[in-house]
């Protein structure tokens, strides 16, 4: 809705804009515009993290006691909007958005005091050890063992699809500490430094040619019992708590709208048959209008369900899955139309011009550099973090009682 912002909110927006104007330098902008991965790559992510940290804005959702900025939800939304519009680097959220809530809820005081400030400063760069080669959608079947030995667990097994493991210095992971009872019953939640002896990382190259994910091997890795979050064998509860944040963070409307705006820019510059530009082509315009309306529908649904969730209606529990499902599928539709808007210039492999180390000029127009790689990388969005099939299973159960 056209929220009639208060004057305070407008002042805050100006503050955010001024900050971005000053700190999101032309150099950073140029680097970021050539990113097509799910997250900005390690160096760029660290640089932008540091800049936000110094301003005190790195963790908008954190309580002030841990270093959050104390914003209202509306301010958080404004910040997110302005960052999305400016196109700032997409920071990986494995630490700040996923592990942090777990530590705040299940961590001991010592764990909180150690991890949270280092997460905030960026000293700790986190990755997530959930999936295993044989345990994807069926996460509870995981097999990585952790055997108690004095004050340590000895961990053996392998985690896969570990985003940014090559940059991370800490990992949180689910391990099997018992084979008694249901599969869910014997799981514990541990954290470990990535340089612990016995950890090794194998890159997995994506179909776009990028290195974002990895397989991480654990060969008798010693993890102190003090690095467990929550009770032994109760890691499933912790894991599920975290998954809510994985499905749920932030509003989908703004990033999807920004993606649409990028598409509009392409369309205005692309030729078309029988129209001044692709943007004037009636069939393209209908497809575009449909997507605009779908983005509105999702944004307003999120807002509407947020109210229901407050009321404790059961529908609220479904909101996170609904959002993950719709935002990922809609994002793919936008990526798909963006790629097709390019015509033949959708075809060149632009790897030479992509990423922070890239030094080639684009093939074709500048705006043709990222859409194809984004399209290819975006295929993962309906698979990772709970596939669309899994989200529909959840919705069938939670929302429809099936």
């Amino acid at each position: 809705m056209a929220l009639r912002s208060s004057d305070d909110d407008e002042a805050f927006r100006d503050e955010v804009r001024a900050f971005l104007e000053a700190k999101f330098t032309p150099e950073l902008r140029a680097l970021t515009a050539r990113q097509a991965g799910v997250f900005a790559d390690g160096d760029l992510a660290r640089r932008w993290h540091r800049i936000l940290f110094e301003r005190g804005w790195i963790a908008p959702a954190w309580p002030t006691e841990y270093g959050g900025p104390g914003w209202t939800p509306r301010q958080g939304a404004i910040f997110q909007e302005e960052c999305a519009r400016a196109g700032t680097p997409r920071l990986p959220g494995m630490g700040l958005s996923l592990c942090a809530p777990v530590i705040m809820r299940y961590g001991t005081d010592a764990q909180k005091a150690f991890f949270l400030p280092r997460m905030l400063s960026g000293e700790h760069y986190w990755c997530q050890g959930y999936s295993e080669p044989q345990s994807g959608s069926d996460l509870a079947s995981l097999q990585t063992r952790a055997v108690r030995d004095g004050d340590d667990y000895v961990v053996s097994g392998s985690k896969i699809w570990t985003t940014h493991a090559q940059f991370a210095n800490w990992i949180f992971l689910l391990v099997r500490t018992s084979t008694e009872g249901k599969p869910q019953a014997g799981i514990s939640f541990l954290v470990s430094p990535m340089d612990a002896p016995g950890i090794s990382v194998r890159p997995i190259i994506s179909m776009s040619g990028e290195h974002e994910v990895n397989q991480v091997f654990f060969d008798n890795v010693r993890v102190p019992v003090a690095n467990r979050m929550g009770a032994e064998n109760e890691g499933w509860t912790v894991a599920k708590y975290l998954l809510e944040f994985e499905r749920g963070g932030g509003s989908s409307g703004v990033p999807l709208s920004v993606a649409l705006e990028r598409l509009v820019d392409i369309a205005r510059n692309q030729p078309a048959d029988g129209a001044a530009s692709l943007y004037e082509d009636p069939v393209f315009r209908r497809d575009l209008a449909r997507l605009e309306i779908e983005v509105m529908a999702l944004a307003w649904t999120e807002r509407r369900l947020a109210g229901r969730r407050r009321d404790g209606e059961s529908i609220g529990n479904a909101a996170a899955s609904l959002k993950k499902l719709c935002a990922s599928e809609l994002g793919q539709k936008i990526e798909d139309l963006s790629m097709r808007a390019l015509g033949l210039y959708a075809l060149p492999d632009q790897r030479g011009a992509l990423g922070t180390g890239a030094n080639e000029s684009p093939i074709g127009p500048e705006y043709a550099v990222t859409p194809t790689a984004r399209f290819l990388n975006g295929r993962a969005s309906t698979i990772f973090g709970g596939s669309s099939e899994v989200q529909r299973n959840i919705l069938a159960r939670v929302a429809l009682g099936l």
């Binding site: 809705m1 999807l256 209008a289 719709c326 919705l395």
Partner: protein
């Protein structure tokens, strides 16, 4: 700003919902549907006297409750959920929406009749050549002395067979699509020269094609002159369009819950068919579309209530979305009911037919996608927020 209902709106929703579940069961509705005149004067009287909802959208000075588009949304959602046949939309939302914007004394008087329950309206604006454009008007209002003489043909006028008064759009001048020269007049459907071909629509409601053959319109029956009529028509049609989106939200909610309930009951291959994953996922898709339709309806109502600059554009977006959802959710509901779904016997086919009619009423999804595009060009910001 949250999308929660106010306490008053929750009360309104609950009281109307309770009334309809007591008095407007599927069987009770079937009797009204299969009888003559196809709507229930008893229910209508109760709307006026027991619930007081016929005055919902009118100023308190006119005997109404002073409600806005959000109150209309709450009401329409409940009317949709019970698949009410009575001409609330035609009389209160559309007819009333025109009248309350007209300065003519006759307008105020007519509103009083609505609130009291003895006046029912129909807005005769669509014409056979017009597809979905209200401004494609060939019907003429020629001056003859102080009066005007009306000649032309209106098509698929919802509610006309039940109406005590018709509001008719006509031209005193201008070409086919011009906004200049359009006026609104009030016509007695029994006046000489008015002839109705009355019929049911596929959803069991009443409509008519109407011929006006030199119908005399006295000066006081001109509700809006050409200076104001186009703006009034657009505003009232936007409100009515938002209102059918809300009605659809109620209907879609029922289509989802009826389908879930049916598939839990119906057993094949030794199990409830709701246990089949393909059906589960299809129901999830229905649910998502129903939720998003309700959100879009809410957005449209809120924008109108706020008199936001992008009100019309929001209504177009909502109707485009909801129209397609009506078709898709409706067809899924029928398919998942299997052979029972295509009979007249269960409620689902009745909800389906109304959903399909709503897709077309006030313009198809295609029409509103076009409108959305045109209105978007005029807006500064195209973001979802």
């Amino acid at each position: 700003m949250s999308l929660d209902l106010t306490e008053q709106q929750t009360l309104l929703r609950d009281s109307v919902g309770r009334f309809l579940s007591d008095r407007y069961s599927f069987e009770a509705r079937r009797q009204i549907l299969n009888g003559d005149p196809g709507w229930s004067p008893t229910i209508w009287r109760a709307f006026a006297e027991e619930l007081g909802i016929l005055g919902a959208a009118f100023a308190e000075s006119a005997g109404g409750l002073g409600g806005d588009a959000l109150d209309t949304m709450v009401l329409m959602e409940e009317l949709g959920r019970a698949l009410v046949l009575e001409p609330f939309l035609e009389t209160v939302v559309l007819g009333g929406g025109l009248l309350k914007r007209c300065a003519a004394p006759l307008a105020t008087e007519t509103i009083r009749g609505i609130v009291e329950g003895h006046t029912r309206l129909a807005f005769a604006y669509s014409e056979p050549q017009a597809r979905y454009r209200w401004d494609d008007i060939l019907t003429q209002a020629r001056p003859e002395g102080a009066a005007q003489v009306l000649r032309g043909r209106k098509s698929v006028v919802f509610g006309a067979p039940a109406a005590t008064h018709l509001i008719v759009s006509a031209r005193t001048g201008g070409g086919r699509h011009d906004h200049e020269g359009v006026v609104l007049v009030l016509v007695d459907p029994k006046a000489p020269g008015v002839s109705l071909r009355s019929y049911r629509t596929l959803d069991g409601r009443l409509a008519a094609d109407i011929d006006f053959h030199d119908v005399r319109i006295p000066p006081e029956a001109v509700l809006a002159t050409s200076e104001v009529a186009p703006g009034i028509i657009e505003a009232a049609l936007d409100e009515a369009t938002a209102a059918v989106c809300a009605e659809a939200a109620g209907i879609l909610d029922r289509l989802v819950s009826d389908t879930v309930a049916y598939t839990k009951e119906r057993r094949q291959f030794g199990a409830p068919i709701a246990s089949f994953q393909v059906l589960q996922h299809r129901m999830v898709n229905m649910f998502v579309k129903a939720q998003q339709s309700a959100a879009m309806s809410h957005m449209a109502a809120l924008k109108l209530a706020e008199a936001a600059a992008d009100g019309a554009r929001s209504v177009a977006a909502a109707k485009a979305y909801v129209g397609e959802a009506c078709r898709e959710v409706g067809q899924s509901a029928i398919q998942l009911h299997g052979a029972m779904g295509v009979t007249d016997e269960l409620a689902v086919s009745h909800y389906f037919k109304r959903a399909i009619a709503i897709e077309t009423q006030f313009g198809s999804a295609e029409h509103h996608l076009n409108r959305f595009q045109q209105l978007s060009l005029g807006m500064a910001s195209k973001t979802a927020a």
